[in-house]
């Protein structure tokens, strides 16, 4: 396990380095440059040059990169052009909402996927299976924001069960306010998860050991417990692989539900052409993905003796 963890950690470090380089380049591959983007098309060359100097964009790429890495090492993700505050403080103030949203969405995704995928797998090629598969195909083609709009219409406006948006001020209101967004974000990946997990459970069910369990004379419930434990591993792996997509979807979900997480910070940064904010949020989200992937891999390893002891 330790050796596996060390290897996995080393790979994660390499990916984080790559992520850092890509994020840095994000600011520099721009056709034209951020200074022009901020000042507008009719700005004078002098003004642009002055702004470039102010942001250190006139230095060589190498020295800019060194400075970027140095700043990162000190936890400094840059200063917002618009708000003139540090991007790390902007992110820190909002990351809680996004993290809570992702967590709730992941829980919902599992709660929806596992029963549906199990039902489809157990009743393979029967009506339940066809219904679940058809739903997941159609679901794949429906954009997340569409789910969000429909859910606001139904659950908030018609039934009045949940707020139409916003974060609220108490823990209870946070929770209530996150249910619909969490569900929406979850539904964005549920079709994929169902399709994959169904295949996974079918494989487990068709695995010889299930026949062994039955031939042992165990009750069906007991057999199902074994199956579930085995299906948990591909579920977790899948969730880990798709967490990036889930995190990406929260950007849109935050917009639909008027949440002030770092997803909406990203969109604001983009519409205000606030490069440091865009850069910092992209970086933080990518690091988040790497860390979540690492965590799920380690969790799976811990659950699976084949990796843990292998």
């Amino acid at each position: 396990m330790l050796r596996y963890a060390a290897r996995r950690l080393a790979a994660a470090v390499v990916v984080i380095l790559g992520v850092t380089c890509v994020t840095f380049l994000l600011l520099h591959v721009e056709p034209g440059d951020p200074a022009r983007a901020i000042l507008g098309e009719h700005a004078t060359p002098q003004a642009i040059q002055a702004l470039r100097r102010q942001w250190g964009l006139d230095a060589s790429l190498g020295s800019q990169f060194t400075r970027f890495i140095g700043d990162l090492a000190r936890g400094n993700l840059g200063r917002s052009f618009v708000d003139q505050t540090s991007t790390s403080s902007l992110i820190a103030a909002r990351i809680g909402q996004t993290a809570a949203l992702v967590a709730i969405a992941a829980v919902f995704a599992v709660l929806i996927t596992v029963p549906l995928a199990s039902a489809a797998a157990i009743r393979k090629d029967r009506l339940a299976d066809h219904v679940v598969r058809a739903l997941s195909v159609v679901g794949l083609g429906l954009p997340a924001f569409w789910f969000g709009i429909v859910m606001i219409e139904v659950f908030s406006l018609q039934l009045g069960l949940f707020p139409v948006g916003g974060w609220g001020s108490s823990f209870e209101s946070h929770l209530r306010g996150l249910i619909l967004p969490g569900l929406t974000a979850a539904l964005a990946i549920v079709p994929v998860l169902i399709r994959s997990l169904r295949v996974g459970i079918v494989e487990v069910l068709e695995a010889e050991f299930v026949a062994t369990l039955r031939s042992k004379g165990l009750g069906e419930l007991r057999v199902l417990m074994h199956v579930m434990r085995n299906a948990l591993i591909p579920t977790l792996t899948l969730l880990g692989v798709n967490i990036a997509y889930l995190i990406g979807s929260t950007v849109i979900v935050e917009r639909v539900f008027d949440l002030n997480g770092i997803g909406s910070l990203l969109l604001t940064g983009i519409s205000q052409r606030d490069f440091p904010v865009v850069q910092a949020v992209t970086f933080v989200l990518a690091i988040g993905v790497v860390l979540v992937n690492l965590a799920t891999d380690l969790l799976v390893a811990w659950l699976d003796p084949r990796i843990r002891l292998g």
């Binding site: 992520v19 159609v138 994929v192 994959s196 992209t282």
Partner: protein, 288 residues
């Protein structure tokens, strides 16, 4: 795209003899082809079958209901909804297909080469893939569209950068399996050049896997284009596109729900058709 669909187990597709016989027997493949065929036909013939130009406004007859003049009514600018739907099919199918051309070709090529040669080339490629995959898909696409500019061009560039990694990863794992097959080993032992083996024996096998994935990928691309349209970063007005139609129709959800529902249904049906083709193809190509 960083959504991972059923790609965990690589399979070695079979092609050649019997493909068409089995293809015709696959109900999902036939159904999917008919659905997409009809939509594509409507898209291609849009200028012929649409009763009105898609951007012709009739400002004195906005939000009109179903009528013989406007079968599906008119939108908030008095434009014919049916005409816009068919023209939007043109836009979205075109953008969907074109956006995956580069990822498909490049990803399949890179995945095949990395899987076939292995070693340092493979390691480096896979690390790059992991780095790209670390960026949440929408974050990467939104960021790239922001950098290169909104509109169709931005979408193409964003997908070119973000989407090839999925093909590369899936095709690589297939290649790892194919590489070990007896006939490939025999071909190598027989002194055939790598180029010839790759071109004649490996690629024909891996490319089918790419095609299968491409079907569900087009769905995801269309959904992404639609989502970008919702964020105002997608296809720019007045070009008709289902995403922009859904998001502008959202303003009239309570008064004229059909405005955002019809394009929504169009996306769902297209998705259904493409998924059926994808499922059918993988059944047909996967040896039983």
């Amino acid at each position: 795209m960083s959504l991972t669909v059923d790609l965990t187990e690589p399979f070695v597709p079979t092609s050649g003899s019997g493909f068409w016989r089995r293809a015709l027997k696959s109900r999902s493949l036939v159904a999917g082809t008919i659905i997409i065929g009809l939509i594509a036909l409507a898209a291609v013939l849009a200028p012929v079958i649409s009763p009105y130009p898609p951007d012709q406004q009739d400002l004195f007859h906005v939000l009109g209901g179903f009528s013989s003049r406007h079968l599906l009514g008119t939108d908030e600018l008095g434009r014919d909804e049916l005409s816009r739907l068919t023209y939007a099919a043109r836009t979205d199918l075109k953008v969907g297909f074109l956006a995956i051309v580069f990822p498909f070709l490049f990803g399949t090529f890179i995945g095949t080469v990395a899987g076939y040669y292995g070693g340092i080339l493979d390691t480096i490629t896979m690390r790059i893939v992991e780095v790209v995959m670390a960026f949440p898909f929408y974050v990467l696409v939104i960021g790239l569209v922001f950098i290169v500019g909104t509109g169709v061009r931005g979408i193409y560039i964003a997908f070119a950068v973000a989407d090839w990694v999925v093909y590369a990863r899936a095709v690589r794992s297939t290649t790892l399996v194919v590489r070990e097959l007896d006939y490939i080993a025999a071909a190598r032992a027989g002194g055939l050049s790598d180029l010839r083996i790759l071109g004649r024996h490996v690629l024909p096998n891996t490319i089918t896997q790419g095609i299968v994935y491409a079907m569900s990928d087009i769905v995801l691309v269309i959904v992404a284009v639609v989502t970008l349209g919702y964020l105002g970063l997608g296809v720019q007005p007045p070009t008709a596109d289902w995403g922009a139609m859904i998001s502008s129709g959202q303003d009239f959800l309570t008064t004229k729900w059909t405005l955002s529902t019809f394009p929504g249904i169009a996306v769902a049906v297209t998705a259904l058709g493409l998924s059926l083709i994808g499922d059918g193809l993988s059944d047909v190509l996967r040896p039983s």
